[in-house]
C-alpha cells in the first residue's frame, strides 16, 4: 500500500509536494543564473529593473574570457579523443581478458572517481612542478585525462559486456579478419557506449575546476579557472553570462546523449 501511488491517501499529497519543492529547489538556482545574465542591474538585483545583453557583449569583448574558453575547448577535445581511444582498448582487455587480478585492476582504474579531487590536484601540482609541466597544455590534458578515463572505461565496458561476442566470432568465421570484425561489427554495436564515454569525458574536462586551479598559469587557464578567479574579486553579472554558456553546453550535450541512446540502441 505504501508502494502504491493511488492508495497512499493524503500521504500522497505530502510526498508529491516535498518532491516538487525539492525539484524546484534544484532547478531554480540554475534558472536564476540565466535570468541574472540578462538582467540590467550590476548589483544583481532580482527581479532586475530591465533586460540587457551587455554582460554577454562584455564577455565576448574580453580577450581573456575568449582565450580561456578556447583553452577549455581545446583541452576537452583532446582529452575526449584520448579518453575514448584509451578507454576502448582498456575495456576490451578488462571485459574479455583472462589475466590475474582483473577485477582489482578494474577497481584501480576507477579509483580517481572516488579520490577527493583536491588530493589529486595537489599531488599532480607537485609532480608537474618537478617535471616542468605545470601551466602547460600537456599538463592540463594529462590531469584531466586521469579524471575522465574512469568514465570512459565504465561506459565502454558496460556496453561491451552487453554485446554478445559470438556475433563477432561469427563475422570471423565468415571470413573477416579479427580486427575487421571488431571494427565493422563490434564497434557499431557498442557505439552508444563510445558516445557516452566521449560526452562524459568532454564534460568532465570542460567543467573541471579543482585540478585546473592548480594547473593554471597566468597565460594559460581554462574557463572555470577564469570564473573562479573572477568570483574571488566580485560577483559581477559577467560571471552569470559565462555560467549560462557553460550550462547551455551541458544541456546540449546531455540532450545529445539522450537522443543518441534512443537512436543507437534501437
Amino acid at each position: 500500500m505504501l508502494l502504491n501511488f493511488d492508495r497512499l491517501g493524503w500521504w500522497k499529497y505530502v510526498l508529491v509536494a516535498v518532491t516538487i519543492v525539492t525539484a524546484a529547489f534544484l532547478l531554480l538556482p540554475i534558472l536564476f543564473i540565466a535570468a541574472l545574465s540578462f538582467g540590467s542591474s550590476q548589483w544583481l538585483i532580482f527581479p532586475p529593473p530591465g533586460w540587457t545583453l551587455q554582460w554577454y557583449s562584455q564577455l565576448f569583448a574580453d580577450p581573456q574570457w575568449l582565450a580561456s574558453a578556447w583553452t577549455s575547448f581545446r583541452i576537452a577535445s583532446i582529452v575526449t579523443v584520448l579518453s575514448v581511444l584509451l578507454g576502448l582498448v582498456t575495456s576490451f582487455g578488462l571485459v574479455r581478458g583472462t589475466f590475474m587480478f582483473r577485477d582489482a585492476l578494474k577497481a584501480l582504474f576507477l579509483t580517481p572517481m572516488i579520490l577527493p579531487v583536491v588530493v589529486l590536484a595537489v599531488a599532480l601540482y607537485a609532480f608537474f612542478l618537478r617535471m616542468g609541466l605545470g601551466g602547460t597544455l600537456i599538463g592540463f590534458v594529462i590531469s584531466h585525462l586521469v579524471l575522465a578515463l574512469p568514465f570512459s572505461i565504465l561506459s565502454i565496458s558496460n556496453a561491451l559486456e552487453g554485446f554478445d561476442k559470438s556475433i563477432e566470432d561469427a563475422a570471423v568465421l565468415c571470413g573477416a579478419s579479427p580486427l575487421e570484425a571488431k571494427i565493422r561489427v563490434t564497434l557499431p554495436a557498442i557505439s552508444h557506449g563510445l558516445f557516452s564515454a566521449a560526452v562524459f569525458s568532454f564534460l568532465t574536462s570542460w567543467d573541471e575546476v579543482v585540478v585546473a586551479i592548480f594547473m593554471a598559469s597566468p597565460t594559460l587557464q581554462t574557463l572555470p579557472v577564469k570564473v573562479w578567479a573572477t568570483l574571488r574579486q566580485d560577483l559581477t553579472p559577467v560571471i552569470a553570462a559565462a555560467s549560462s554558456l557553460l550550462i547551455l553546453l551541458t544541456i546540449t550535450l546531455m540532450a545529445l546523449v539522450a537522443i543518441a541512446r534512443k537512436v543507437l540502441k534501437s
Binding site: 516535498v18 538556482p29 548589483w43 584509451l86 574479455r96 585492476l105 588530493v119 607537485a126 578515463l149 555560467s243
Partner: protein, 290 residues
C-alpha cells in the same frame, strides 16, 4: 564461453594452464595511471613523513593544534549536517519517484540529472548571489516580516551547509530510488493485511527494508562532502575553513609540502575506509568528489 574453458582446463589437467589473454590491452592505461596517478599521490603522501625532517612531526602538529582540530571539527560537522539533511529530504523524494506515474517522474529525473551535471561553479555562484545580505533569500524573509535584519547566510558554515546540501541531493536521491524500487510491494500488502496501519508499515517495514541503501547513500554523501573544495571555499568564510581548503592552503600559500601531505593522508584514509564500508554494503557506486 567461460564454462567451456573451465571444462577444457579441467580435462587437460596435465597440460599447461591457459595463457592469460587481454593483459596487453590494458598496459597503456596501466602505465598512464601508474605514472600520473599513483606515483604523484604516493609521492605527496611520502613527503608528509620526509619533509622538513624525517618522522611523524607533521602528524603530531596537525593533530595537536587547536586551529587544525577546529578545521577537522568544521569538516565533520558540516559533512554530517549535509548528510542528515540530504537524507531527510532525499528519502521522501526517492520514495515518491519510485511510485509516481512515470511521466512526472521522468521530468523530475531530468531535473536531477541537469542539476548534477550543471557546472559546479555556476551553481555555487547562484548561491553566493542568493544568500548575500542583499540577496533574494534575505529580501524575501524580510518582505514576509519574518526578520528585521538580513541574516548572515554566506561566508559562514550556514552558507556552506546550504550550498553543499543543494549539490549532494541528487547523489542521495538516485541510489535511494534504486533501493526503494527493488522492494517488493506485496511485502507491504502483507503487513497491511496483518493489521499494520500506515505508520507501522512505514516504520517497521519500508524503512528497515530501505535502511541498507540509506546507510550506503549517507556514507557516500558524507565522504564526498569531506573532500569538497570549491563550494566550501566560496560559500564559507576564511574563519571557517574545511579540510580540502587547508590542504590547498598548505601547498599554495604556505608551500609546506610536509603538512599538506599529512592533511591529504588524513583525508584519504577517512575517505577510503568509509568507501570500503560502503562497498561492502552496497557494491560499486559512481561518485565524484569535487
Amino acid at each position: 564461453m567461460s564454462t567451456y574453458i573451465d571444462v577444457a582446463s579441467e580435462t587437460a589437467t596435465t597440460s599447461k594452464a591457459i595463457r592469460p589473454t587481454g593483459f596487453g590491452e590494458i598496459i597503456p592505461a596501466l602505465l598512464f595511471v601508474g605514472i600520473f596517478f599513483i606515483v604523484p599521490v604516493v609521492a605527496l603522501l611520502l613527503r608528509s613523513v620526509l619533509e622538513p625532517v624525517v618522522g611523524f612531526g607533521n602528524y603530531a602538529e596537525l593533530l595537536g593544534s587547536a586551529t587544525y582540530l577546529k578545521i577537522f571539527a568544521n569538516t565533520f560537522i558540516v559533512s554530517g549536517l549535509v548528510t542528515a539533511i540530504s537524507l531527510l529530504i532525499g528519502f521522501p523524494v526517492a520514495w515518491t519517484l519510485a511510485i509516481m506515474p512515470s511521466r512526472l517522474a521522468s521530468l523530475i529525473f531530468a531535473v536531477l540529472l541537469l542539476s548534477m551535471w550543471t557546472n559546479l561553479l555556476a551553481r555555487t555562484y547562484a548561491w553566493m548571489v542568493l544568500l548575500q545580505r542583499t540577496g533574494l533569500i534575505n529580501k524575501m524573509l524580510m518582505g514576509m516580516g519574518l526578520i528585521d535584519q538580513p541574516l548572515p547566510l554566506v561566508n559562514n558554515l550556514t552558507g556552506v551547509t546550504i550550498g553543499m546540501t543543494y549539490i549532494m541531493l541528487p547523489f542521495i536521491i538516485l541510489p535511494l530510488y534504486g533501493v526503494i524500487k527493488k522492494i517488493d510491494p506485496t511485502v507491504l500488502q502483507a503487513a497491511a493485511l496483518c493489521g499494520a496501519n500506515r505508520w507501522q508499515c512505514l516504520t517497521r517495514v519500508l524503512l528497515p527494508l530501505a535502511a541498507r541503501g540509506m546507510v550506503a547513500g549517507a556514507l557516500m554523501v558524507f565522504v564526498m562532502s569531506l573532500g569538497y573544495y570549491v563550494t566550501p571555499s566560496l560559500l564559507g568564510g576564511t574563519a571557517n575553513m574545511m579540510l580540502a581548503e587547508l590542504i590547498a592552503q598548505f601547498v599554495q600559500s604556505l608551500v609546506n609540502w610536509g603538512m599538506g601531505g599529512a592533511a591529504a593522508l588524513v583525508l584519504l584514509v577517512v575517505t577510503l575506509s568509509l568507501y570500503a564500508v560502503q562497498l561492502r554494503l552496497f557494491g560499486v557506486q559512481n561518485t565524484g568528489g569535487r
